[in-house]
Point group: C2
């Protein structure tokens, strides 16, 4: 497999943009990434377009990428639509990497765009449930209050189990949100940039105990894009080179026992890249809820089992800490336009590895990790993706 | 890139199965393909799952493959959901090929499953329209009779233009249907196996002139699967080896002028494989309507412009002819469970290249071509896929 370089990145701001559609968001992220890379549209040999919920939110099922990108010069090159729920963007990135690494094309595009806000909120909430098996969902929805994401019940149940085993408290989850907002306040792209206090987080509306509103990832619109190129092409471009050192996708086991797919994806990525958790300088992870980020510290090997909360309390994972996690604000504060999220993680980490992250920069960042999970099968996410990037090869 | 072998194939019968779901169809096709290949489920390193319309027909948006395959031993290996409208299965096949050709895995699965029939027919028809840009669709739907696929208006307009330029007549389109049913009558998998006469085709209900009901591809449920392996793995398996010689995906140009994406995909596949149209012994093409197949003879280089209808009239493309096209019945008679179709084409051609097609066998078949188009952007399909297979490397 050839070396692959992240040569261009771009994204829209994430937020509630009722007047914008998938096309307008995708076009903005794409043109930013193309300009950043300094490539021509005509060089892009393969496009992977990630979108999870347009079928149910906007009615555009199938050929979503071709519809979103039809006014761009990408038409004429293959556009492949992919979906793996919250890991859709990571899946697009993985396939773009594969197409360059394998020599199929020298320049590939991974782009994710999602339009979730709708004047009728029940459309958005209904679509969100689609990341769960339709049979399980019927059961969960009977249990859940109306207009309520079934995912938050799954997350709250996990949070309660984690509190029991680790001694973590709702105050810790609130602290995670404070950290998240602090980071987001330093990012121009984040949906929620207003700092919050632990008191504010704890007193926000209870969604599914112990999760309050601020502990749950919000609904957002947005798009993000990454252009991946071969090393030969990268040499002709101006940006500081960021290399893809591993890109692994792992699905849930059907027994639901043993390590989660996030753990297994991380192990595979560490093995493939030769890096270990101790080598990671900065990470972006799938904090669909505040406790999820803390549990991921353990699943990714940053902390021992039930010790993740210590990293948080000690400030290790804050901006300015040794291992900032979600310096871009994560899902909780950057926002979560589903298909775009996995690529927005890459945008943030590439910015960090280029040394361009301004006040949220991890000084000396050379190795970075992104983790994103998608959907729900039995007790685990349906799939997890782990990517490792570095500023050297 | 490594040589890639189609080592296992399987499919369900195609038809109207109101009592079956995507999972049941996918499981049947998968177990047939695994048994045919003689591989273990655990060897499958990567799965590409094609489905186009479940979001709108069954409500299962996102993680469709994980939901369909959750009771199989595939869980634990990556499952990637892809969609490119009618070319969804071809896209899954392309990516499975890429993952083996690139060395990412030694055994990959392409599987397509679609559940289209619904007790409420308007659900099915509504979903079908989703292969058209949502904005164009709104316009087309105002023009179309209720419960009517907007695609057939697009196809009928093309058919009328083709009749003008080529001199083809509705009788020719009826003859195509007679040929299609003749082939399907020899296949155990086809939805419509009852021979028809040109009179019956011409007198079936008018859908969108000149297209009668029999000239339009039907609604079907079904699944198909193909297991692709590296040449090393293939040597340990018992089946006669069928090689993937080219797998090309091409999107529509945004200007809509110049050659169609089917033509361009064919040109790329010929160039990549070193074969030309004169080398093809048997083909499966995207006959979403009867005239479409005739036009494809020209786009794929089997006939000169406006001369396609001659091949049909002379019996060249019938079972028993020099170049049988759609010996498996095509979309018109095998049926068209959207996500499964592109892989069902591969199933038929692999059967032909193994010499196992019984009464519909093209004697001496060594080189085969599959073409599948998906969606609609402006004047052209959104995307076309062309695959070339051969019984030798």
């Amino acid at each position: 497999m050839r070396h692959v370089v992240v040569a261009g990145i771009g994204q829209t701001a994430f937020g509630k943009f009722l007047d914008r559609n998938v096309r307008s968001l995708a076009e903005e992220a794409l043109s930013a990434a193309v300009a950043d890379a300094g490539v021509d549209y005509q060089q892009i040999g393969m496009t992977y377009f990630a979108n999870a919920l347009s079928g149910l939110v906007t009615g555009q099922e199938t050929i979503r990428g071709q519809v979103a990108l039809r006014n761009t010069s990408l038409m004429g090159s293959p556009i492949i639509n992919v979906d793996n729920a919250c890991a859709s963007g990571s899946t697009a990135f993985h396939l773009a990497w594969l197409s360059v690494a394998s020599g199929q094309t020298d320049v590939a595009l991974a782009i994710g765009a999602e339009k979730l806000t709708h004047i009728d909120k029940s459309v958005t909430f209904g679509a969100f449930a689609a990341g769960v098996d339709v049979e399980e969902r019927a059961h969960l929805q009977r249990e859940a209050p109306q207009g309520h994401s079934v995912f938050m019940d799954i997350y709250s149940e996990r949070a309660r189990r984690y509190m029991e085993s680790s001694g973590a408290t709702p105050e810790d989850f609130a602290l995670l949100c404070v950290k998240s907002r602090q980071a987001a306040s330093l990012s121009p792209w984040a949906q929620f940039r207003q700092p919050v206090t632990t008191e504010e987080v704890l007193s926000s509306r209870m969604i599914s105990a112990p999760l309050t509103l601020n502990m749950c990832s919000p609904i957002a619109d947005g798009a993000a894009a990454a252009i991946l190129v071969s090393e030969d092409v990268a040499r002709s471009l101006r940006a500081r080179r960021v290399y893809v050192r591993a890109s692994k996708l792992v699905s849930a086991n059907n027994d639901g026992d043993g390590p989660t797919c996030a753990s297994r994806a991380a192990d595979e990525a560490y093995e493939y890249s030769g890096f270990g958790p101790e080598d990671i300088h900065v990470a972006e992870v799938h904090d669909a809820s505040a406790p999820a980020e803390i549990m991921l510290y353990e699943r990714l090997g940053f902390a021992l089992p039930d010790q993740g909360v210590k990293l948080l309390r000690e400030g290790v994972t804050s901006v300015g800490g040794r291992l900032p996690v979600n310096p871009g604000g994560g899902l909780l504060s950057r926002g979560h336009p589903v298909g775009a999220t996995g690529i927005a993680q890459i945008v943030e980490l590439t910015t960090q590895l280029r040394g361009n992250a301004g006040k949220r920069q991890r000084e000396g960042a050379e190795v970075a990790l992104a983790e994103c999970s998608g959907g729900q099968i039995g007790k685990d996410s349906a799939l997890a993706a782990v990517t490792i990037l570095s500023s050297f090869q």
